[in-house]
């Protein structure tokens, strides 16, 4: 056991003497949280929408008043007067404006005659976020205009009452669980992948192999050190990220305990997986080359950015065996939902079994000789 702890001591002393690993493993996820959280999280405002009014009747005026209300209040878009529908369409195409609303001839008359009145909306659907936002506003506006002025005493339409269980989750909060898992992955990739192989290439392992240390002690020492580094990265990012995203969950002792357990088993799982992948690698270029591929293969299919339910079958199959899936699910359950141990029980077991299973396979593959 002492020999195993000697390996851990060596790794940890190196880790704290050279803080590059810690800084680099935290830098990318923090930047991701900061930039993506702010870039994707906000509401769309200030879009320019052309209004081509061929009607000029009272109902058209009503619509324009509603547009003015939107411009002043919710600020999703402001309107620009156009007289020619073709020109408006062309300007949407060239990006001068974001959308165009066409109020056709006889619109007011058709409204009063209840003769299927129609409004035209031209959108640039290559930008789904802007187009979707304008469509939503316009749909709400049309629904409001279609509502009867006086509600009937007995409503016969079915209404859906939505109850949101949790407070509003901004994009930065949504992104935090993925960033914590990513920080631990990067720590493991650098510490358990790149530095491990670099040490092999430098002959450090040769130094270990001539001592009486057993294979198991060596494997456990290297993995324990790697897991501790990943745990430290995970804790740092959970605290920093929670403060950045405005999550108070880190101030609740029970949630902290749950987070700690999840961080530990995630570290074991990631480290075991990395050790299994690197156990027979000697070339220092391999982990560097694998870094991006593994990131793509494990991070995106995990449901970190998009729901797994939307994936095709083959991508779902990756998600099922991907430790990221369970780690991110667990972090979401604690950080965003305060779900308690019951919500992360399966994730904890999966990650623990995955990590130990990987180590069980890797240990016989680890060579005690050169």
């Amino acid at each position: 056991m002492n020999r195993m702890f000697a390996i851990v001591e060596r790794e940890m002393r190196k880790f704290f003497r050279s803080p590059t690993l810690m800084i680099m493993s935290l830098m990318m996820p923090i930047l991701q949280l900061l930039i993506m959280g702010n870039a994707f999280g906000g509401k769309i405002v200030g879009e320019r929408v052309a209004v081509v009014d061929y009607d000029h009747g009272p109902q058209a005026v009503k619509i324009r008043e509603a547009f003015d209300s939107i411009a002043v209040n919710i600020k999703t878009f402001t309107t620009v007067e156009y007289t020619d529908e073709v020109q408006a369409r062309e300007d949407v195409r060239t990006g001068k404006i974001n959308a165009a609303v066409i109020i056709p001839y006889q619109y007011s008359r058709r409204v009063y005659a209840k003769d299927a009145p129609r409004l035209g909306l031209v959108v640039d659907n290559t930008d789904q976020f802007s187009a979707g936002s304008i469509e939503t506003e316009m749909q709400a506006l049309v629904t409001a205009l279609s509502s009867p002025v006086l509600e009937p005493r007995l409503v016969n339409s079915i209404a859906l009452e939505i109850v949101e269980l949790y407070p509003y989750v901004g994009y930065m909060k949504f992104l935090l669980p993925a960033c914590v898992a990513l920080a631990m992955y990067i720590s493991v990739m650098i510490g358990g992948g790149m530095l491990y192989i670099d040490d092999k290439a430098r002959g450090v392992h040769e130094g270990y192999l001539v001592t009486p240390i057993t294979k198991l002690e060596l494997v456990m020492g290297l993995n324990m050190a790697g897991a501790i580094k990943a745990v430290l990265s995970g804790i740092c990012l959970t605290v920093i990220g929670s403060l950045m995203a405005g999550l108070g969950v880190i101030f609740h002792p029970e949630a902290l305990l749950e987070l700690f357990c999840l961080i530990v088993v995630t570290s074991i799982a990631f480290n075991g997986m990395m050790f299994l992948l690197m156990v027979r690698v000697d070339d220092p270029l391999v982990p560097r080359a694998m870094f991006g591929v593994l990131n793509l293969l494990l991070f995106y299919p995990s449901g970190a950015m998009y729901p797994i339910a939307a994936f095709p079958a083959w991508l779902r199959a990756i998600a099922v065996i991907d430790p990221f899936t369970y780690s991110i699910h667990g972090f979401k359950a604690i950080l965003l939902k305060d779900g308690g141990f019951a919500a992360i029980q399966f994730d904890l077991w999966f990650l623990l079994i995955f990590g130990l299973g990987s180590l069980l396979i890797a240990t016989p593959l680890f060579k005690r000789t050169l």
């Binding site: 002393r13 003497r17 130094g207 070339d283 220092p284």
Partner: protein, 346 residues
């Protein structure tokens, strides 16, 4: 014993050898890196393994230090079989690999302490051992310095201290002075000699430097193409080469006839053409050959740029047995070389 050595040599005094290599073989697929090598090293002896690059020296040392499994034969270290009693072997040996593998970010003390723990040296003993080895390699005042702040020679001394921190009885050194400047190299030689005397260590070292082998080693084995081609004391090996002296002569003008003319001089046993107009002449009488050479040059109207006479060196022994000089070796570049760490001294 100077001739082709094939079995454990007869220089043993009846006691159990510290290292015994019997018909050792190492194969990588169809390639035989070590072919039926046998030798033994007595306790307290410094034994040198010489050979060109790729001759099998490092493979042999790795077989003896349990780093690579042996394909055939038997290797025992302090009476323990490297295959069946690998752990016992590891406890008896200290190994200094070719590369500098101490952690540059850690201090000298930390490096030594971690290795002492890897050998399960008890805490109280650990402190004593560290102090002793630091004194032995003259690094006491540097114990708190990070290894990356030390010079190349000092780093090599840290490696040596690390290999000794558990008090091994047998010490393996793979090219211990490669990359060191001449002053540091001499310092390492003196230190190794001192360690042998004070700690009664048995040492086996590989080297590229003939002078190093000559100065340090009690006996030398020359390995080429995985085979032991010569074994003996430096003096025995030098005597095994025909010709007692070497005359180095440099003619002003190169002509193809010179080699033949030199070979025809009396007492000359062999002539090696080194470069244009430069020859190494092995002769049984240096003074007689020198006289003849000067007379021959004068009679032909040729000018001698330089002329020197020296005793046979291990270089001559090496060339004699391997048929080539180290500098002629084509060194295969390693697949990958780690870049130097920022702040590390060359």
């Amino acid at each position: 014993m100077m001739a082709k050595a094939k079995s454990i040599d007869e220089t043993q005094n009846g006691t159990r050898p510290a290292i015994a290599v019997e018909h050792a073989v190492k194969r990588y697929g169809s390639f035989e890196a070590v072919k039926d090598v046998s030798f033994s090293v007595a306790e307290g002896e410094i034994f040198g393994l010489l050979g060109p690059n790729g001759a099998g020296k490092s493979t042999l040392i790795r077989m003896m230090t349990t780093l690579i499994p042996i394909t055939g034969g038997k290797v025992t270290i302090a009476g323990h079989d490297v295959v069946h009693e690998a752990d016992a072997v590891r406890r008896m040996i200290g190994v200094i690999p070719q590369a500098l593998t101490s952690d540059p970010d850690l201090t000298v003390q930390e490096n030594l302490s971690i290795y002492a723990k890897l050998y399960s040296v008890p805490k109280a003993q650990r402190e004593i051992n560290i102090q002793e080895v630091l004194e032995a390699v003259d690094l006491v005042k540097w114990r708190g310095a990070q290894v990356k702040t030390l010079s190349g020679g000092m780093r090599r001394r840290v490696e040596i201290a690390r290999g000794l921190v558990h008090n091994p009885s047998i010490f393996f050194l793979d090219e211990p002075t490669t990359g060191l400047d001449p002053v540091s190299r001499i310092a390492v030689w003196e230190m190794l000699d001192n360690l042998r005397r004070t700690r009664h260590l048995t040492m086996l070292l590989t080297t590229h430097y003939m002078e190093e082998a000559d100065k340090l080693c009690d006996r030398i084995a020359i390995v080429d193409h995985g085979t032991l081609v010569a074994l003996g004391t430096p003096i025995e090996l030098k005597h095994s080469v025909p010709g007692a002296n070497v005359v180095e002569v440099h003619f002003d003008r190169e002509t193809p006839e010179w080699k033949g003319r030199l070979e025809n001089l009396s007492g000359v046993t062999s002539v090696q053409a080194e470069s244009a107009g430069f020859y190494r002449v092995l002769t049984s009488s240096g003074s007689a050959t020198t006289m003849q050479l000067v007379e021959l040059a004068a009679s032909l109207g040729e000018t001698l740029t330089s002329l020197s006479v020296q005793n046979t060196t291990l270089d001559d022994v090496f060339v004699h047995y391997t048929g080539r000089q180290l500098r002629d070796e084509q060194v295969k570049p390693p697949a990958f070389t780690m870049p130097p760490r920022p702040g590390a001294q060359p």
